[in-house]
């Protein structure tokens, strides 16, 4: 009887052990399969296409052409223009969103009475589709019927309506402003989450030591927010380099090619010029650029950790 119980117990334990060993794999199988289905095959397919001539208007011939797609794309006029545009836009958007996020999070964390109202609406722009955000701004900035022009005009700040989206410089500025509106709130919430983790005693101690608001921000708040600052900068860099939805509705890459970014160029090659080989080769170049940037960021983080 006793021996029997021990045997059953051992069997249960053995079963549990086997289960424990298999469980980790079972628990990740489903997400792994979904992700793998939409990663491995698409990447292989994309890399393959990029080495072939794939023009939809010539559906019968897909000769292997090696690196020709890459060479043609990189040497094209549009690649240089869109690369410069993307670089400018990325720098402006990342700096803009980061500063906006920092300022808003500090204001949200302040004791001002109006801060409560801002706290309620701050996440709204982030919660809506970029397509819709772009559309709202397109209409607000419209050069014939836009409400922004209307308000500036009614206030007497301008004599005639400004062509916000038809002037190359104004179009770039408008794009960055719409992006800050759309992306800034999430950055603000990230910074706010970080601010709330900073113990109050640190501020009190600094105040007793006679630190002014700026010195407290510079020597206490900012260093402690550093990990979040890095998350925000990395995330916003990737978002800015890959910006598409906003351009699709707001400027369509125009006027001329003044807001034509690199992923817009890839879209145009694939869906307008129907040259899949070119478009996909370009997309792979973009992927490599982002990969290099991420590795650089990681390196900065790691070297700072070693110094710190």
């Amino acid at each position: 009887m006793a021996a029997n119980t021990i045997q059953v117990g051992q069997a249960v334990r053995r079963k549990a052990k086997l289960w424990d060993r298999v469980y980790p794999y079972i628990s990740i199988t489903l997400p792994f399969l979904v992700i793998a289905l939409f990663t491995i095959y698409p990447v292989l397919y994309a890399v393959r296409i990029s080495f072939y001539q794939y023009i939809l208007t010539k559906p019968k011939s897909h000769p292997f052409i090696g690196l020709k797609n890459y060479i043609e794309v990189i040497n094209s006029y549009y690649f240089r223009t869109s690369l410069v545009n993307t670089a400018l836009y990325t720098v402006a958007a990342v700096i803009g969103v980061t500063i906006f996020g920092l300022v808003v999070s500090l204001l949200l964390n302040s004791k001002a009475k109006t801060a409560a109202a801002l706290r309620v609406i701050i996440l709204l722009p982030w919660a809506i589709p970029a397509v819709v955000a772009g559309l709202m701004w397109k209409w607000i900035l419209n050069s014939d019927f836009g409400i922004f022009n209307g308000i500036l005009y009614a206030l007497g700040l301008i004599d005639q309506y400004l062509p916000f989206l038809a002037n190359p410089t104004l179009a770039k500025v408008s794009l960055v402003l719409a992006d800050i509106w759309n992306e800034g709130p999430l950055a603000a919430i990230f910074f706010l989450a970080g601010l709330q983790l900073i113990p109050n005693e640190l501020y009190e101690a600094a105040r007793i030591d006679g630190g002014g608001a700026w010195r407290i921000f510079r020597y206490i708040t900012l260093p402690l927010l550093r990990p979040i600052l890095l998350i925000v900068v990395v995330y916003e860099t990737l978002t800015a380099i890959l910006v598409f939805d906003l351009i699709y509705v707001l400027t369509g890459g125009g006027p001329g090619d003044s807001t034509s970014m690199i992923s817009w160029f890839a879209y145009a090659e694939i869906f307008r010029n129907l040259n899949l080989g070119h478009g996909v080769a370009l997309a792979i170049v973009i992927a490599l650029i982002t990969l290099v940037l991420i590795l650089l960021y990681l390196r900065v983080i790691r070297s700072e950790e070693m110094v710190g």
């Binding site: 469980y23 997400p31 698409p42």
Partner: protein, 299 residues
């Protein structure tokens, strides 16, 4: 300057700055809602009237019942600005909602156990698997758009909910798993260790002990997944073909793509499309901040 004056001045600047931000952030929403209550001819004035002169629900009436607003009959040439497509917005938003809810459920159901495994259990291939999942999001959408189309076509899923549910799940799961893994790593280990010693299986330790402790994280992850799916445009645009599966962003972008589209109808569509995300953003704000705080705790 006396200290008291200085304090009043700085509080004034802070409040003015906040009011400016409230206008910048909230203004576009308010304008869309106000514009949707006006007739087309009022919106085409220079400058347009901010406060509706003759507020009317005719535009909404048209979208839901097809009754053409009287404002259009007044001016004959405005008649052409009515786009039939605007009437598709209600079913499109329903599609968006069903798809986003399914994506959210999938993320929670299969993402949470995976995150627990990555945060707590040891097994061969853990690091490789984790890195693979994170790196999967590096490919720009443009490069994988065509292979996605081929996959969905091969599975005979073009123009179905399931196609977008699958694709959106693949897009959101890496973030959900990463976020929840960080979140669980920040929960003290002793709690579920005690459960494991008492004879719980890892899955029981997760459902009975850890899940109740990670509610803010789960809410944040669920909200992110819902929003990403509800807002996604590029894949939704070319994996759908008819109103059977077209989502809100696809219909709104297509209405706006028509240069003759009516502004009042666009603003109705936008206002309707804004309602679900706005409710979510306002109700979940506190949970989101809490969830983010807990997963990015300084280490």
């Amino acid at each position: 300057m006396t200290p008291r004056l200085k304090r009043t001045l700085s509080s004034l600047t802070v409040n003015l700055l906040i009011i400016f931000l409230i206008v910048y952030i909230g203004g576009p929403f308010v304008w869309m809602a106000l514009a949707s209550l006006q007739g087309e001819n009022e919106l085409l004035k220079r400058p347009p009237s901010i406060i509706p002169q003759n507020p009317t629900f005719d535009n909404y009436n048209y979208v839901f019942t097809g009754k053409i607003p009287t404002a259009y009959e007044v001016k004959g040439q405005l008649r052409s600005r009515i786009s039939e497509e605007a009437r598709l917005i209600a079913p499109a938003l329903r599609n968006s909602f069903i798809i986003a809810l399914s994506v959210m459920a999938i993320n929670l159901l299969i993402g949470t156990p995976a995150a627990y495994t990555f945060a707590r259990l040891n097994f061969k291939g853990k690091k490789g698997g984790y890195n693979f999942i994170l790196a999967s999001r590096l490919m720009p959408a443009m490069a994988i758009a065509i292979p996605y189309y081929v996959i969905i076509q091969t599975l005979k899923l073009l123009d179905t909910y399931l196609a977008l549910i699958l694709v959106h799940s693949a897009l959101t799961l890496p973030f959900t798993i990463w976020f929840l893994t960080l979140y669980i790593s920040n929960i003290p280990r002793d709690m579920d260790d005690a459960g494991l010693v008492d004879g719980c299986t890892p899955f029981q330790a997760l459902t009975k002990i850890v899940v109740p402790l990670m509610a803010p994280g789960l809410v944040a992850a669920a909200a992110f997944a819902f929003m990403t799916s509800y807002n996604e445009f590029l894949f939704a645009r070319f994996l759908t073909q008819s109103i059977k599966s077209q989502t809100g962003p696809v219909i709104i972008a297509s209405i706006a793509g028509n240069p003759d589209a009516s502004y009042s109808l666009i603003s109705v569509c936008i206002t309707l499309g804004l309602i679900p995300p706005l409710i979510l953003a306002i109700t979940l704000r506190r949970w989101l901040t809490e969830g983010l705080s807990a997963s990015i705790t300084f280490r």
